[in-house]
């Protein structure tokens, strides 16, 4: 349940549409699964443009940096990505998901 995020979902969809209308490359990142204590609910989204500007969150700040980079790559090559971040994942430690959970994020280009 993510009712508190409902208004936020609108903001992200609106932002995605506005950026696309402005001719920018756009990608969406969506939390599709969480294990343990993850700060954001399944369905939380992040919208990213080709310059790396973003709005929304998928983790409360832990992994946004890494997700934004993958989103920019998805905008370039058009391929969707399924990203795993967890406490056992070295990269996740690097980007700071030390909050004791792990999450899976689907990244896709708006085409």
């Amino acid at each position: 349940m993510a009712d508190a995020a409902v208004g936020e979902a609108d903001a992200i969809l609106d932002r995605a549409a506005a950026w696309a209308a402005a001719g920018r490359g756009v990608a969406l990142a969506t939390v599709v699964k969480t294990w343990g204590s993850s700060p954001r609910a399944v369905g939380s989204q992040l919208v990213v443009d080709d310059t790396g500007a973003f709005e929304g969150s998928v983790s409360g700040g832990c992994i946004e940096g890494a997700v934004v980079i993958e989103a920019q790559r998805a905008i370039e090559d058009g391929e969707p990505r399924l990203l795993d971040f967890g406490v056992s994942d070295e990269e996740a430690w690097e980007v700071g998901l030390a909050c004791g959970g792990s999450i899976e994020v689907f990244v896709e280009k708006l085409a």
Binding site: M1, A2, D3, A4, A5, V6, G7, E8, A9, D10, L13, D14, A16, A17, A20, L28, T30, V32, K33, A41, V42, G43, E79, P80, L82, E104, F106, E108, K109, L110, A111
Partner: protein, 225 residues
């Protein structure tokens, strides 16, 4: 995500229509489900229908592949009847919690854009206002005027609706009189029992913002419990 999917999601949101987006996580399928229908296999449609009903986005497996259904139910809405001192902090808190808020008060001197700059204001009589807004299962109704002429008509509409939360400000004594009037108006015990009164969780605070917090907390509890 296809641009068409995004457009349909945004249209449904604007029209307060439930919609689900279904994607195969290898990127091969991207579709929406509206009114229980969409260009998807029946088992996938069933997953999407159930997800909408439970208001829960989740991943699932279908024919060996991983899929995701994302639920976009209509935004929560709060209708506040009465542009009073408690309304100001309540509107702010509810907005922060993701509610679309409408403030109803036909008394022009109360509901001014100056006192309430960040909210949609409706100056219709409360029953007309609520009928026009359409109270659904994702709507909370809170009456704060202390004036039966204004609160009661709003409660009549709210109690006949599927509102998930109906709260009325006033002491136990005020509420007892309110109950008498509602009985007289033909409402049964079950309907009247839906009214949260005295309103709000019993947090102990008496300041307007503290009462607003108690109401917002009780709305949240009603939503999830």
């Amino acid at each position: 995500m296809k641009a068409e999917t995004l457009a349909r999601l945004r249209t449904a949101r604007a029209e307060r229509q439930p919609i689900a987006r279904v994607a195969a996580l290898d990127g091969s399928v991207d579709a929406v489900v509206e009114d229980g229908e969409g260009p998807l296999p029946e088992p996938v449609l069933e997953v999407a229908r159930a997800a909408l009903k439970q208001n829960r986005s989740h991943d699932f497996e279908h024919e060996g592949g991983r899929w995701f259904v994302q639920v976009f139910n209509p935004p929560l809405r709060l209708i506040v009847v009465g542009a009073v001192h408690i309304s100001q902090p309540l509107i702010g808190m509810a907005s922060g919690l993701g509610y679309d808020v409408t403030l109803v008060d036909p008394r022009g001197a109360f509901a001014t854009a100056q006192r309430f700059p960040d909210v949609e204001i409706c100056d219709e009589w409360p029953d007309d206002a609520l009928e026009a807004l359409g109270v659904d299962g994702r709507t909370a109704v809170v009456t704060l005027t202390h004036d039966p002429k204004l609160d009661d008509p709003a409660l009549h509409v709210a109690l006949r609706s599927e509102a998930f939360y109906v709260g009325a400000l006033g002491s136990r004594r005020t509420h007892a009189k309110r109950v008498e009037r509602l009985v007289e108006a033909g409402f049964d015990e079950a309907a009247i029992g839906r009214i949260r009164a005295p309103i709000g969780l019993n947090l102990g605070g008496r300041a307007p913002a503290e009462i607003a917090l108690a109401i917002a907390a009780q709305m949240t509890e009603a939503l999830y419990r």
